[in-house]
């Protein structure tokens, strides 16, 4: 008797599941905070506007590796002729280019009501690949040098000054190499752009394999530079060491820096500096897989996520990220204090002058590999 009851209950459960089959699967690369953002903030907001729809967030891990996993899954499903499991994906730049080239994404931005609010060129160009129409920036993140003003009164203004400073203050500068997170990668690509010759060519192309030879000197210098620095374990490792006073300076992500400060994990007096000729930043993109079953819902989800209100409240206020759409659309949505905090140490003109994109994909890979060969090995 009891077993029959259970069976009936189970069947009922299955049927209700089938009746409200509108489940929107959102896969995000990136840290846990990205998953939480969808699960705790964006998902409930969307569910309220679309009764009967359930938003499920899946995280695939931080860094390019997370995006790589999404790419591999979509590619496998596409090869098998199966519909995609994911309806919306949040991906990094490198994977976005690859996915567009492999026809795994839908060209949806032109029909999106918020599509016209984007002005930065990262919406059309992802590390050298033309992605216009296929992606919608979720936010922009920027790297900068964090420093402890108690220990450094006069922080270096450029990579060249930083090099001199490190010579005089051994083991006071720390970064995480290239295997421990993107802030270290950003620092290294910034170094090659600063000392390795033609920076504009790195960002705009065209790719020329011979360019690698001009980095020799820069990388040899970097190896020398590394003798006097601390290699930290990861993005969080750099912030940890800054917090404990073990290093006085190191490259970090701006959003992570402010979040740690707000949570009391960094002393309130810590400051940022965006050194010239510049350090890279990157967006993360919302994209819709070509074979999703919920195309319309997915587009509505991205439209909501990139609306000025959500960008102001969710992206800027909650995460200290720079908005994915043009910042002028956010005017009046944020109180001045929040806005000012984001630009406190890096004023808008410094950001536009020294906030660089990462190099185009083939150069980017070459730089990482040359680093492994010449500096790390």
């Amino acid at each position: 008797m009891r077993r029959a009851l259970y069976a009936a209950g189970f069947a009922a459960l299955l049927m209700t599941g089938a009746a409200s089959a509108q489940t929107l699967n959102v896969a995000t690369a990136g840290d846990q905070n990205m998953v939480d953002y969808i699960k705790d903030y964006l998902g409930p907001l969307f569910e309220k506007q679309h009764p009967g729809v359930k938003v499920v967030a899946v995280g695939t891990g931080p860094g390019d590796g997370g995006s790589q996993k999404i790419f591999e899954k979509l590619e496998a499903q596409s090869k098998a002729g199966a519909p995609a499991d994911f309806d919306v994906v949040v991906i990094h730049q490198k994977a976005a280019g690859t996915m567009v080239q492999s026809n795994l994404l839908k060209k949806y931005r032109d029909d999106l009501p918020t599509g016209k609010l984007v002005t930065r060129d990262t919406a059309t160009n992802s590390l050298g690949t033309d992605v216009s129409g296929y992606v919608m920036p979720m936010f922009h993140s920027q790297t900068a040098i964090a420093y402890n003003p108690d220990l450094i009164k006069d922080p270096p203004n450029s990579y060249a000054e930083l090099r001199e400073w490190v010579k005089k203050n051994p083991k006071q500068f720390g970064y995480n190499g290239i295997k421990g997170g993107m802030s270290g990668v950003a620092f290294v690509t910034g170094w090659v752009a600063a000392f390795g010759g033609d920076a504009a060519k790195l960002e705009k192309g065209p790719y020329d394999a011979a360019q690698k030879a001009t980095w020799e000197k820069a990388l040899a210098d970097l190896k020398e530079f590394n003798r006097n620095v601390v290699i930290t374990p990861g993005n969080a490792g750099t912030l940890d060491m800054l917090n404990r006073g073990e290093i006085a300076m190191g490259p970090v992500w701006v959003d992570m820096f402010y979040t740690w400060k707000a949570e009391g994990k960094l002393p309130p007096n810590m400051r940022l500096k965006l050194v010239s000729p510049g350090m890279p930043g990157q967006p993360m993109y919302y994209a819709i897989p070509a074979k999703t079953a919920h195309e319309k819902l997915a587009a509505e989800f991205v439209a909501l996520a990139t609306s000025p209100d959500v960008q102001a409240e969710g992206i800027v206020k909650r995460f200290n990220w720079y908005p994915g759409i043009d910042a002028k659309n956010l005017e009046g949505k944020l109180d001045q204090a929040v806005w000012n905090q984001l630009f406190a140490d890096i004023p808008p003109d410094a950001l536009s002058a020294n906030g660089k994109p990462f190099p185009i994909s083939p150069y980017f890979n070459d730089i990482l590999e040359a680093y492994e060969k010449k500096v790390a090995n």
């Binding site: 390019d64 295997k179 374990p233 060491m241 404990r244 890979n365 990482l368 060969k373 090995n377």
Partner: protein
């Protein structure tokens, strides 16, 4: 010799299938991929790349694992020796209740603990400073190769000790008593009488530890910076950053070879013993 029965084969079939599907197939696949060039023809290109980019890391990995194994052996012998031969009951009681704890802590948790414990301004140095044993200026961070070794040894000593103490407890006490009666010190009894009788167990424990440490990803990733680093980190990086499975597989094959060499030493030793016996 009895013929294998069909029923017996059926019983082990699920287990065999699991090994085949989950271990042998991926193993063969990764071996094949490591020896295949980008154009699909057999090639050693991936190994050339692995050597070019990671030769330092290969040596670093060997260094870390060999030193850790040696230290694990030393500490295990010391602890198991005290547990078996010591005549100070309270010391034995304390040691017995303490030494097994790290066994129950996963590597990743151990790594996270060490990160706060061994840092320059971490728990260990702060304790020394507070006790007046050290000036704050003398504090150095152990979060590099030393940190990895400390974590590995701390994690593996209880495992080897557990095996070793068991073996020591089961040897014939008469040999120990005889040695003591003839005036040998406890250290001499341990080295000349006890150890030879449990050498086999010690070797098994150390070989297993060696292979375990060779395959840990979390500890080198969390405890130390990335230059130089262990092969597991390089493999993860190769896949995550480039989707380059060929070089990662080549690094994997190099790990197989290192682990295989140790297993071969162990097997050879075993065969020799059996021939003698």
């Amino acid at each position: 010799m009895a013929r294998p029965s069909l029923f017996g084969l059926l019983l082990i079939a699920p287990a065999l299938a699991m090994i085949g599907v989950l271990f042998l197939y991926p193993l063969g696949f990764s071996l094949a991929s490591a020896f295949t060039g980008p154009d699909g023809a057999p090639s050693l290109e991936s190994f050339r790349k692995a050597y070019e980019l990671y030769s330092t890391d290969i040596l670093f990995t060997l260094f870390i694992v060999i030193v850790s194994t040696a230290l694990t052996g030393l500490f295990s012998i010391a602890i198991a020796g005290i547990l078996t031969l010591s005549e100070t009951p309270w010391l034995v009681a304390v040691l017995r209740s303490l030494y097994r704890w790290p066994l129950f802590i996963p590597f990743i948790v151990a790594a996270q603990c060490m990160r706060t414990f061994l840092a320059k301004n971490g728990l260990m140095n702060n304790t020394f400073v507070a006790l007046g044993l050290m000036e704050p200026i003398q504090a150095t961070s152990l979060l590099d190769w030393r940190g990895i070794i400390v974590t590995f040894v701390w994690k593996q000593v209880p495992f080897v000790t557990l095996m070793l103490a068991g073996a020591m407890a089961s040897i014939d006490r008469a040999t120990v008593e005889a040695g003591r009666n003839l005036g040998a010190s406890r250290l001499r009894v341990l080295i000349e009488l006890v150890l030879p009788q449990v050498a086999q167990t010690l070797l098994v424990g150390l070989v297993l530890s060696f292979v375990t440490m060779l395959s840990v990803l979390s500890v080198p990733m969390m405890v130390a910076g990335s230059q130089p680093t262990m092969l597991t980190v390089d493999m993860a990086f190769r896949i995550n950053s480039y989707g380059d499975y060929a070089t990662a597989n080549a690094l994997g094959v190099i790990s197989y070879v290192i682990a295989g060499t140790v297993a071969w030493i162990y097997l050879r030793h075993n065969v020799k013993r059996e021939v003698q016996a």
